[in-house]
Symmetry: C2
Subunit: 360 residues, 2 copies
């Protein structure tokens, strides 16, 4: 199906089509993009069905990376689920196992929680090489072991040859957070936005592989980012929010911060760290580089009073390219403005549609 | 691949093949069967990789249906993950949504926990009818709403047409349990084994559909079984263990109880409730009827002093066909003996291999 048709269909859904018309539609790749269409799908088709959507902590409609269950003394158990369908399952910089373990633990970490446990559901195609499965499991274990994270349990299903493309892994990350939780609604006008390092490496790598382009120096940045969150926890309330710019990239993450906090955001293009190769691939393929996924970087919103200390703390922790890329402004809620290199202004929108699926 | 060859391969793995030889093998359907092969796979390829395997409660190596996190005052948060790949996704008695929600909440319930929350990761094929996805989501919501269970969050991924057969759902069930947890190691010689109703309905239904047989009165029994557990919680320590006989059926469940508790078990064939249609389909297809999955029944191990009261409590709760099917014996650990209708004895083994995948 040509991309425009897919997008058209989605937009119809977002724009309040009647249910009889909805019934003639089919699921599009965009629904799984992690961008605006995913959000619309969840808000329209999932949220209204469920009577209860939280246990008194962060829940479904907060649209955060993890949910929380208050367990007393200002502590929360933080839980996150994600499925990983990345194609190919092995790529420069990692594999689906490293991605699945890091990804769900990162979702917990950006809520402010120390990752404690992991659970997994592996769905693998009959005939998948056992050696490759061992490598994938080993990568998951390496991530967990490096962080003293326990594997509490899991599930393994095998689907007959041809009924699933190689392997899909769903992982649950579990952590413990002390308040304040680093939710996106906490950003205030004047706050600074910091990123831990160059963005888009993972997305560019997988895109290039899917388009059969040569991936030379490019590799996925996939890794756990808890050490970055931990380094900033000491700033207490002055560390406002954290987010990992995965599906939908920096563009989606910044829009979410702007929307949930009811502020606008200004970011400076020339301040955003991005490798030249990433920019080149994005240009070559005609995609917005700021919508490319990172799987090993975090965005922080911090009080301006701790900006320099926070950058220093991150650099000490090994995030040497950590940088301030913009700030939170009052004004119109939900807008992200990019000050371009040549001095122009453009609205950085939530990514719409889906050019390439199975990025993560 | 013929079934015998698959089995042979698996047995080689179980029997301690050298790693160079393992590397030339590939993943078999049996690894995902939920029977002996799954257990062997987990014990050999997953367990040894992870340094930490619990958070002080029930963890990975306990091989229970859920893991637990102690939260003080003798309470545990119970968490379970499972993926559902059932083919076809719609079947008499339910659909993959009802199955995924009930299944993970049942896994939590049989640990003794009141189900409180659900999380989901949906992986759907591009082009899947939106109307069907809505029906599936609606069934999940019906289960959750009927039990005052909250949907805390989730994830939606879409895979391109042809890369996944329709839809797979991973769900996480979350509940709160007060001690004693109903773990399988608590069964003691003399305890009675009760089942809430006829077994094998789900497995027989899906089998028949996959073999293109006519499914007339047969339908899946998929439903939440928390009400059965709740009805017996008042018996405190006299309610020893609970288990839902899903993949691997009663045969697997009883073997697990025998093995983990270090006892043997005797069950009486003529006491095991099973619909005639289920028996007929199993005979027709040459499968062990006691290895067929139920998705809406529970097995309880109870002190003999409460046997009658427990049966009464279950019947009052609507489990009218609840029955005692056998008892726990001392003697050789890990054996399940079936007293057949004609008075013979046979060992009821853990199911090996996998005749038909994607039962749940």
């Amino acid at each position: 199906m040509p991309r425009t048709k897919r997008l058209l269909k989605l937009n119809l859904i977002s724009n309040g089509l009647k249910s009889t018309e909805v019934d003639s539609l089919s699921v599009t790749l965009a629904i799984g993009s992690g961008g605006k269409d995913t959000e619309d799908f969840v808000k329209r088709f999932i949220l209204p069905l469920f009577k209860l959507r939280s246990l008194g902590g962060v829940g479904l409609e907060d649209m955060e990376d993890g949910a929380t269950i208050p367990i007393g003394d200002g502590k929360h158990l933080v839980i996150s689920i994600d499925s990983y369908t990345v194609n190919p399952p092995f790529f420069p910089g990692g594999n689906i196992g490293k991605l699945a373990a890091s990804g769900s633990l990162n979702d917990v970490a950006v809520m402010g929680a120390e990752p404690k446990a992991l659970m997994d559901a592996i769905i693998v195609e009959e005939g998948f090489p056992l050696r490759d499965l061992k490598t994938i499991l080993n990568s998951m274990a390496e991530v967990a072991n490096s962080m003293d994270v326990a594997l509490l349990g899991g599930d393994t299903k095998v689907m007959p040859k041809g009924s699933i493309d190689k392997i899909v892994i769903a992982t649950v990350g579990i952590g413990i957070a002390e308040e304040p939780l680093l939710t996106l609604d906490r950003a205030r006008p004047g706050d600074k936005i910091i990123v831990t390092g160059p963005v888009g490496d993972h997305g560019a790598t997988i895109l290039a592989l899917q388009f059969n382009l040569k991936v030379e120096t490019l590799k996925s940045d996939v890794r756990p980012i808890w050490s970055a969150v931990r380094a900033l926890r000491k700033f207490g309330d002055n560390l406002r929010s954290a987010k990992d710019p995965t599906r939908g990239g920096l563009a989606m993450a910044l829009n979410e911060i702007a929307e949930r906090s009811g502020n606008s955001i200004v970011v400076y293009e020339d301040a955003i760290p991005m490798k030249n190769e990433v920019r080149t691939y994005a240009e070559m393929l005609g995609v917005e580089p700021l919508a490319l996924a990172s799987e090993g970087q975090a965005i922080f919103v911090v009080d301006p009073s701790i900006e320099e200390e926070a950058l220093e703390a991150l650099r000490k922790e090994g995030y040497e390219e950590a940088r301030t890329i913009g700030e939170v402004k009052g004004g119109k809620s939900g807008y992200v403005v990019l000050k371009t290199r040549v001095g122009g202004l453009r609205i950085l929108e939530k990514p719409i549609g889906e050019l390439v699926p199975r990025i993560c």
